[in-house]
């Protein structure tokens, strides 16, 4: 039979180490208090909510049967689903040259393997700002080698089809920042790809194609 004092001694083997641990951690907390928030901020910068998957998820919000593809004069901003990075939101085509490629929001290597990509610092069709698209000259944008001034390029989205008439094409160096202006208050379609076509090796030149919008629904609610 264990006596009361013996029980006390046995319990002490448990609560005394716990007591020491609590006091120890309190002292560490007090000492580290000035730097704890800094460490936690740095920690939150380098960690995520979940373990990373390291993949760009290629998804699609594009619906070629969308009722909004029927010609409408205007579309409210609230009805437009904004694409996330890596999602196909449109189809870019030009019948005369045989261009017909899925258009993705974003422009990393995974996206360009699947179709044409859009620089996310540019605007969506209908938003009255420049649209910058890119694609490989041996896959999605191969047909651009035949494009001419006057050709019509269409971008079909879930909220409407926008048509752009090619007004200019030029070859520029890939580092030439004057080749496009994303700050202009004009809806200009700019497509670019490596140049020349059917060239094996590294090329620093790019073919730029510029188009002005000629049709497509206006978006209401834009401020």
């Amino acid at each position: 039979m264990v006596s009361k004092s013996q029980w006390k001694r046995i319990l002490a083997y448990f609560y005394m180490p716990v007591f020491f641990t609590i006091i120890g951690y309190i002292i560490i907390y007090i000492i580290c208090l000035p730097v704890i928030s800094t460490f936690l901020s740095i920690g939150s910068l380098v960690t995520g909510q979940d373990s990373s998957t390291f993949q760009t998820n290629i998804t699609s919000i594009y619906d070629d049967q969308s009722p909004l593809l029927q010609s409408q004069k205007s579309v409210p901003l609230s009805s437009i689903e904004m694409p996330s990075f890596g999602s196909q939101y449109a189809q870019v085509s030009c019948q005369r040259i045989g261009l017909d490629a899925p258009l993705y929001w974003g422009d990393n290597s995974t996206i360009l393997r699947n179709g044409a990509g859009q620089y996310i610092g540019s605007s969506l069709p209908g938003f009255e700002r420049p649209i910058l698209l890119c694609g490989h000259n041996v896959t999605a944008f191969l047909p651009l080698q035949s494009i001419e001034i006057g050709d019509q390029v269409s971008i079909s989205t879930n909220y409407g089809t926008y048509t752009y008439e090619v007004v200019e094409t030029r070859v520029a160096d890939m580092n030439d920042t004057s080749a496009y202006d994303l700050s202009q208050n004009k809806e200009q379609l700019i497509m670019y790809t490596c140049y020349p076509f059917a060239f094996m090796g590294v090329t620093t030149q790019r073919l730029f194609i510029y188009g002005d919008r000629i049709s497509g629904p206006d978006i209401t609610g834009l401020d």
């Binding site: 002490a12 083997y13 716990v18 020491f20 995520g48 373990s51 041996v138 094996m200």
Partner: protein, 280 residues
């Protein structure tokens, strides 16, 4: 009748026992860090078990494949260019050199030669004209591929490993003897303060148990919640290596706390034996 212990002696004993647990905790943390976080064998093991070298090859192939498209080449030019044998040999040599604070240049001559031959075979199969511009382009491309390969093979931050390990060793040369002396001093003081040996040993058992708890609490939390797997670091093979390595390093702290707990249990057994002898 047993002599009553003065309350001040009790309080002082508890204070010394607490200090002893702090000194032992710091000792365990230093040893755990040196034999865990800065353990060369652990890093090598983590690289082997996380399939690091195979992943470097497959990641390099994937990265280079994206460069092939605008070059007008296809993935067949990469056949047998990156072999596991070469990657393992060069990777191991690079790792050993970095861990020892030495420099090492990864040899890419074989890769360049194989890649160049594959591209030339490809051009002749597809009847593509070969001229000096294309030849220069092939050389430029091969150099680009080799630099990607070397970059992928190099473990980031490893160059700091040897330097920090050396600094830690310098700290340990001083800290371990000092902490050991302080711990022994606390133990002797506890024995001196108490009239009975088993009472002093009880305090010592509290200290060792507290050390086991203090040292294992945070590593256990990290191992159970796997917070360290949420580090945003790429590429994926480096993330796997780092999470495996951190996991194994945290286990070192757990092992040291198990040792402390074992000592505590031994001391408790000794207390039991002493009391039994006193009863008789």
């Amino acid at each position: 009748m047993a002599k009553k212990i003065k309350p001040t002696v009790n309080v002082f004993s508890i204070l010394i026992a607490f200090l002893l647990s702090v000194f032992l905790s710091i000792l365990c943390l230093l040893l755990g860090t040196y034999f865990g976080l800065f353990n060369k064998a652990l890093l090598s093991d983590a690289m082997n078990k996380s399939a690091y070298y195979e992943s470097v090859n497959s990641y390099t192939v994937e990265e280079v494949s994206d460069l092939l498209i605008p070059q007008g080449l296809d993935s067949s030019v990469l056949d047998n260019v990156f072999t596991l044998q070469t990657t393992y040999t060069e990777g191991k040599a690079l790792l050993d050199a970095n861990l020892n604070g030495q420099g090492y240049t990864v040899s890419t001559d074989n890769i360049q030669e194989k890649l160049r031959n594959n591209i030339i075979d490809y051009t002749s199969k597809h009847n593509l004209a070969m001229n000096s511009t294309i030849s220069d382009n092939i050389t430029y491309f091969s150099n680009q591929v080799c630099s990607i390969y070397v970059q992928n093979l190099t473990v980031p931050f490893l160059s700091y490993f040897a330097g920090i390990r050396k600094m830690l060793f310098q700290v340990m040369i001083i800290a371990i003897p000092v902490l050991t002396l302080l711990s022994v001093g606390c133990i002797l003081l506890l024995i001196k303060l108490q009239n009975w040996l088993h009472r002093a040993l009880r305090m010592i058992a509290y200290s060792f148990s507290a050390t086991a708890l203090m040292v294992s609490l945070l590593p256990c939390y990290l191992l159970i919640t796997r917070t360290y797997t949420k580090i945003n670091i790429s590429p994926i093979y480096f993330h796997k290596l780092l999470t495996r390595y951190i996991g194994q390093s945290l286990m070192m702290y757990i092992y040291s706390s198990i040792v402390m707990l074992a000592i505590a249990l031994f001391v408790i057994a000794a207390i039991y034996q002493i009391k039994k002898r006193l009863m008789h």
